[in-house]
């Protein structure tokens, strides 16, 4: 199980790894851990999925991704898991979730396609519809118009805070 030192480590690197030749040694120096301990703990945190990934976190709009569509479908409950799995395998799909329907909003499957131009996104969506046989279901395409706010959500762990980030728009 995780202990206090794991949380200290998570808090220490949440805003980024040192950009230096021995980053894990440098983190350890600040926390009173050896480089070996830092490496061992991070390896476990990664393996159990608390750290989803390690590396560059991009600002997608800075890379030119401005045609970003959220597509929602109304899929019968009996098929939604299978279709969700298939949609999530398309290389251009960046997020895929099942969410509850509400009275006014009957859609239960959501995915995002981040694109540099709208035509490409619409073509990809058409391909997805054909590959996963989705054309029989009601859907809506919601392109983002403006991004008002985007930051990594900061979580306070027992010690402060861990970022989680979703590229939603």
């Amino acid at each position: 199980m995780l202990d206090a030192r794991d949380f200290e480590l998570l808090a220490a690197i949440q805003l980024g790894l040192p950009i230096s030749p021995r980053p894990y040694r440098d983190i350890g120096l600040a926390l009173g851990m050896t480089e070996t301990e830092v490496i061992a703990r991070l390896t476990v945190l990664k393996r159990i999925g608390l750290i989803k990934r390690l590396g560059v976190i991009v600002k997608h709009r800075q890379l030119g991704y401005r045609a970003n569509a959220m597509i929602v479908w109304n899929i019968p409950d009996a098929f939604v898991k299978e279709i969700g799995r298939r949609i999530s395998q398309a290389p251009f799909v960046t997020l895929c979730y099942q969410r509850p329907r509400t009275l006014e909003w009957p859609y239960n499957l959501y995915c995002m396609i981040h694109g540099k131009d709208r035509d490409t996104v619409l073509q990809q969506l058409e391909q997805l519809g054909a590959d996963c046989n989705l054309d029989r279901f009601d859907r809506q395409i919601l392109f983002s118009r403006r991004c008002f706010k985007q930051r990594g959500a900061l979580y306070r762990t027992p010690e402060p805070a861990a970022p989680a980030e979703l590229a939603h728009g």
Partner: protein, 147 residues
């Protein structure tokens, strides 16, 4: 950003070694020197092409809670309502979308109870209905955006 920067971004979105000399290993895989990789990462961070170089945590596994919420905001009140919503530190993302449900935002809080409280407070302060659309299932996606 040049071709080498693009290769760095593409390669290091999928993983970074946990070893004594991780930048050296990553640089060798890219055919670069360790020093060049370090310098380029520094520059990409300074230019804010990258928001971060480091970990992406599983917020829920850390005990936090997330949800997606939407509102139907009258066009003439859009700026005012966006100001109110963005003022909540629990709001991590907020996007205008082309639809009658025209404002979509992600909330992140330390506990599930705080989510409900925050949604209620947003309803109270804006006088508008907030549709809460928490996730039921997250399908695995290897999120990667080619630079």
């Amino acid at each position: 950003m040049d071709e080498i920067d693009r290769r760095i971004i593409n390669a290091l979105q999928t993983g970074f070694p946990i070893s004594e000399r991780p930048y050296l290993e990553a640089a060798q895989a890219l055919g670069l020197s360790e020093r060049e990789l370090l310098e380029r990462l520094e520059t990409l961070l300074q230019e804010q092409t990258l928001s971060r170089f480091g970990p992406l945590y599983d917020a829920e596994a850390m005990g936090g809670a997330l949800t997606l919420a939407a509102m139907r905001v009258p066009e003439e009140r859009f700026e005012e309502v966006a100001g109110i919503v963005n003022g909540f530190q629990e709001v991590a993302h907020n996007y205008a979308r082309r639809h009658t449900l025209n404002m979509w935002f992600v909330l992140a809080t330390e506990t599930p109870e705080q989510l409900r409280d925050t949604l209620d407070e947003i309803e109270r302060r804006t006088g508008l209905t907030v549709y809460d659309m928490p996730k039921i299932t997250e399908y695995f996606v290897g999120l990667k955006l080619e630079a």
